[in-house]
């Protein structure tokens, strides 16, 4: 809740959707620790100093983004607490991932207006500003109330209600075993309860897994098409768009600037970026275009490196392949209607397409879709909200702990510790369960009365 001012909170503070840059803020005691954990290669402890660094997933050591990090020390910060500010590339996909890493390191999602509230509580802003924030929070609370009302009848809640009911049933049986030992109650066995919990854990797992894709469905992905001049990038761009948008000629360097269009692949929104061909050049305008091509690679969720399948690879090709080594990419051999080098195709695990005849385009589209969707069994429902995802992920991990403790032979109150945590994580989405609610359920399920 808002009163817990000591928690470390995290949020993306730029508007939702895709922007040029995305700013992610942390405020609270753990801010610096989280920032240094995620960006291990920056020279830290220097505050109010912009430093470029890589964000690395500490679990997988995978590089996620290159960003500018600024640290602030309390009280000299916006909120008056220790703060950290990541200026990242604007991909919502990447930002969401960094945010999740922050949560994993101990931050929690910020509530509406919470940064400003802290600023006020720490005397960083004056009364007039504070009054304005109060109105903002009021508006938010009305909005939340409406949202909650909608959610209560909404899809997510509908999906979660039976899950909650099963967890509640387990809680009631376990609580009754603990509280009413003398009553000879007809409660489920531990094995029965374990099985019930395993079933809902699977359902929650599916929901959690759906978020990665759900997020993409909402925000869209960014796909950059790069390659040296005249390999058919613009043709591929048009083929994927399914209309003639980019100008296609035989003259190398026709595309001077990046060109973005939105299409969809199996319902997945795709921001498709055609780029200027990359080569050594003295032409000032072309040079600028090439710089933008590199920027597009950095910003893309997936890069399609286009090679000419009818010709041997040249130095330019190798340079581009090398520069994309660290980013997610597919290698696409275009112009397969003019000839194919099967060895190269195999070496680069490439796709064989012809933008001109349409050969291989469907397969490429499917591969792109599969790359992002990847989920095996998905519920009818997709999680799209980071906060919901965070809550359900917490609920799931607590549920799994409850299950394991029961299996390991711990007694009921230990499993209950985790199950109550599960319920409180779900509370925001399913409505809170108070002790009185629980007792009510217990007394209507069992005849208790010594």
């Amino acid at each position: 809740m808002y009163a817990e001012i000591e928690d470390t909170i995290a949020a993306v503070s730029t508007p939702p959707g895709r922007g040029a840059i995305g700013v992610l803020r942390l405020s609270g005691r753990l801010s610096h620790k989280i920032a240094t954990t995620l960006a291990p290669n920056c020279k830290l402890q220097k505050v109010r100093y912009a430093q470029t660094c890589d964000i690395i997933d500490p679990e997988t050591n995978e590089k996620i983004d290159r960003c500018v990090l600024i640290l602030y020390r309390a009280p000299a910060s916006f909120t008056g607490q220790d703060c950290a500010e990541f200026n990242c590339h604007g991909s919502p996909f990447v930002l969401a991932r960094i945010l999740r890493l922050c949560y994993a390191q101990g931050a929690r999602p910020a509530l509406p207006g919470e940064f400003t509230l802290r600023a006020f509580l720490n005397h960083k802003i004056d009364l007039v500003q504070a009054e304005a924030i109060r109105d903002l929070i009021n508006a938010q609370s009305e909005y939340q109330a409406k949202l909650a009302a909608r959610q209560l009848q909404g899809e997510l809640s509908r999906y979660l209600q039976p899950i909650k009911a099963t967890i509640l049933e387990a809680v009631i049986h376990l609580e009754s075993r603990v509280e009413f030992v003398d009553e000879a109650l007809d409660t489920h066995s531990i094995e029965q309860l374990e099985q019930q919990l395993a079933k809902v854990a699977t359902q929650l797992r599916r929901l959690v897994d759906s978020y990665r894709f759900g997020r993409l469905v909402r925000e869209g992905i960014k796909l950059a098409i790069v390659g040296r001049p005249n390999v058919g990038k613009s043709s591929l761009f048009n083929a994927l768009l399914q209309r003639d948008r980019a100008i296609v000629t035989d003259i190398p360097g026709t595309t001077r600037d990046t060109l973005t269009e939105v299409t969809s692949i199996n319902g997945l929104p795709v921001h498709l970026v055609d780029t200027a061909g990359i080569r050594q050049t003295e032409d000032v305008v072309e040079k600028l275009g090439i710089e933008r091509s590199y920027a597009a690679i950095a910003d893309a969720d997936l890069t399609l490196i286009v090679l000419d399948s009818s010709k041997p690879l040249c130095d330019e090709d190798f340079r581009i392949l090398e520069s994309c080594r660290c980013s997610k990419h597919f290698v696409v051999f275009n112009k397969c209607d003019l000839g194919v080098n099967e060895n190269l195709l195999k070496d680069y695990k490439g796709f064989k397409v012809s933008a001109k005849t349409g050969e291989g385009i469907d397969e490429l589209r499917q591969a792109i879709f599969n790359y992002f969707s990847a989920a095996e069994e998905r519920p009818d429902l997709l999680l799209v909200d980071a906060r919901h995802h965070n809550l359900i992920e917490t609920a799931l991990s607590e549920l799994n702990l409850a299950k394991s403790r029961l299996k390991e032979g711990f007694s009921e109150e230990i499993a209950l510790f985790h199950l109550h945590n599960t319920l409180s994580a779900l509370a925001e989405l399913t409505g809170e369960t108070t002790v009185e609610d629980l007792l009510g359920l217990i007394f209507s399920t069992f005849c208790i009365g010594k």
Binding site: Y2, L121, N138, D182, V435, K450
Partner: protein, 624 residues
């Protein structure tokens, strides 16, 4: 105004709340009077002859740790002791004892009579004397006026009590005792919001007419586990209880006569406790159950009277008799006292501050059933806190408010004053957010230092406590440094007893975390001189601390967050109606309850996190 006598504190009522209140206040140095209708019935157990049970036993340990009386008296008056939930973790184990009613009364009265500044007075308090919003004393039926700086009301079911047996109703405070009607009027006239609750009690049977051979015997534990930290050993002989069941014939008698039950005829409107339903409720609401469990509990050493636990009823006498005699083994039973239902007045506990002082009248405190609770233990702990705070009030010191996170007493009082009650309130372990922390075996660690500061813990008891804590700490240190070494004979023995295999040498503190490992198992692994000498209870506390260390730490983190939120005080003059964004319902609730802290406000049902943020902001705005 003229007064016949002057006191610092007056306690009205001598039940479980009244006794603790009077003792605490007098031991803390205040001249204290305990006024009761009948001094022969001090600490009377009006319902079942038992103390403790899950969560309730926790309360008794906490009372004891603070320097209260209930644990000591129960250890003396107990006739059967059992530790419940032995097979479960230490946090949910709790002692329960059947008691001898007469010995309980006698022991309590003797303890009270030894307190120098405590004065017993028999009489009926008929009105509270209030001047300019402050209590100044009480007036008795016989015209006496007693002055006091603080008054604790602990009147149990006596406030305007009405007994129901079948269609017959009459005014009474308990079976055979008069109700306090005028005092009820006096409280009402001060403007307190009042409600009415109901509770019930089963018939008492003549043990000579029961065929005990037909029932399953339930003996006490050997050796019995005491309630008080100060009791070394319980030596009295233990009696058994017996388990009985109703059957279809019993249910048939009840069903046939259900329209003669005041609960179903509409004669009783007020709400009773759901966890202690009458037998008629059980039969009607759980009609698919072929039988209900009952307990035959002896009332004491020197009596034939047997308490039929689980058979609370307000059916007419003839139906009670017929139903009881339908139980196999009770065919020829004689009923000594009938069961009955009683309705009584209560005062909405949201009228109270966390100190149990009323917000309306300074120096007036409420404790026990008047606050809507049920149970001796719930009453006693409120009595203790009200008595302590009445004394602190007289001494002009800050009140004692126990936080939710470190005691069940704190949970109970916070629930009462911030949420109010819809039905008689009973303690359950699930009411605490910190269940794994609030064990019976660490109540002294949590509360004895507080009792000591108040002057309720003697020098002798306190030095024993400190020495015990040192030994426990030392044991824990030892287990954190000492390993079960692979290949060592003690390790082999340990593994063999438990049927487990160790793959590497392991610290004892790690082994303690395994669910199958009990304190006595670890004794095998301790260095010889420690293993031979350490006290089993202390070893058990040390192991329990280590066992749940991870959970306790996680709970503590949560606890500290709760504490921080709790600590922020809300100014008494905050006008909620002025705050934008609060719904009318929230404004109404907040203005009525007037929470003292932000944490309390957050626990009021229906008050949202956003509303708390607004209040928090407003507090800051008011400060500048």
């Amino acid at each position: 105004m003229n007064f016949n006598e002057k006191f610092d504190v007056i306690v009205i009522g001598a039940g479980h709340a009244g006794c603790e209140a009077a003792n605490a206040s007098a031991v803390m140095g205040c001249r204290t009077a305990m006024v009761t209708l009948n001094l022969d019935l001090v600490a009377q157990m009006s319902c079942n002859p038992a103390v403790g049970g899950i969560a309730k036993g926790h309360l008794v340990r906490e009372i004891d740790a603070l320097g209260g009386l209930m644990g000591k008296v129960t250890d003396k008056a107990g006739i059967q002791f059992r530790l419940l939930n032995r097979s479960r973790g230490p946090a949910v184990q709790s002692p329960r004892a059947q008691t001898d009613r007469a010995i309980y009364r006698k022991e309590m009265r003797q303890l009270l009579e030894r307190v120098p500044k405590l004065f017993l007075r028999q009489g009926e308090v008929t009105s509270l004397l209030v001047e300019q919003g402050r209590i100044i004393g009480v007036e008795l039926m016989d015209g006496r006026r007693l002055a006091a700086k603080a008054v604790v009301i602990a009147t149990g079911t006596f406030l305007n009590g009405t007994i129901h047996i079948g269609t017959r109703t009459f005014s009474a405070g308990r079976s055979g005792e008069i109700a306090s009607i005028l005092l009820g009027q006096s409280i009402r006239s001060l403007g307190f919001r009042m409600g009415r609750l109901k509770t019930g009690t089963p018939p008492r049977l003549d043990g000579r007419t029961i065929d005990f051979s037909l029932f399953e015997e339930q003996p006490g534990d050997e050796p019995p586990v005491p309630f008080s930290f100060r009791t070394k050993k319980i030596t009295q002989k233990q009696l058994s209880c017996y388990i009985a069941y109703t059957d279809e014939r019993v249910h048939e008698v009840i069903r046939r006569n259900i329209d003669r039950s005041p609960l179903y005829s509409g004669q009783i409107q007020s709400i009773g406790p759901r966890y202690c339903p009458s037998i008629e409720d059980k039969v009607v609401k759980f009609s698919d159950k072929p039988r209900h469990q009952l307990f035959l509990e002896p009332e004491g050493y020197d009596t034939n009277e047997v308490y039929l636990n689980g058979f609370s009823t307000s059916l007419p006498l003839d139906v009670q008799e017929q139903a009881v005699r339908a139980i196999p083994g009770l065919e020829h039973v004689e009923m000594i006292r009938p069961g009955y239902a009683i309705e009584y007045d209560m005062v909405d506990p949201t009228e109270l501050k966390s100190s149990l002082e009323t917000k309306r009248v300074r120096g007036l405190f409420h404790a026990g059933q008047i606050n809507g609770t049920t149970g001796y233990e719930e009453a006693a702990c409120q009595g203790l806190i009200a008595g302590i705070n009445a004394a602190l009030f007289c001494l002009d010191r800050e009140p004692l408010v126990l936080p939710r996170v470190s005691s069940y007493i704190g949970v109970l009082i916070d629930d009462l004053v911030s949420r109010g009650v819809d039905e008689p309130y009973r303690m359950f372990t699930s009411r605490s957010e910190m269940r794994l922390l609030l064990r019976i075996d660490n109540a002294d660690e949590r509360l004895t230092p507080i009792g000591r500061k108040l002057g309720l813990v003697s020098d002798e008891a306190y030095s024993a406590f400190l020495a015990k804590q040192d030994r426990i700490k030392e044991l824990k240190r030892l287990m954190q440094r000492h390993k079960a070494v692979l290949g060592h004979s003690s390790t082999d023995a340990f593994c063999e007893v438990l049927g487990i295999k160790l793959t590497e040498s392991t610290y004892l503190s790690q082994l303690a975390k395994r669910p199958e490992v009990a304190p006595e198992h670890l004794r095998m692994l301790l260095p010889r001189e420690v293993a031979d000498n350490c006290d089993p209870d202390e070893l058990s506390v040390a192991v329990n601390d280590l066992k749940y260390a991870g959970y306790v730490d996680a709970s503590r983190v949560q606890a500290e967050r709760v504490l921080r939120a709790q600590s922020k005080k809300i100014p008494a003059d905050l006008d909620y109606a002025d705050l934008p964004g609060l719904s009318r319902e929230m404004v109404e609730k907040l203005s009525r309850i007037r929470p003292e802290t932000l944490g309390q406000a957050a626990r009021i049902p229906g008050v949202t996190p956003a509303a708390i943020a607004i209040i928090n902001l407003q507090i800051e705005l008011m400060r500048r």
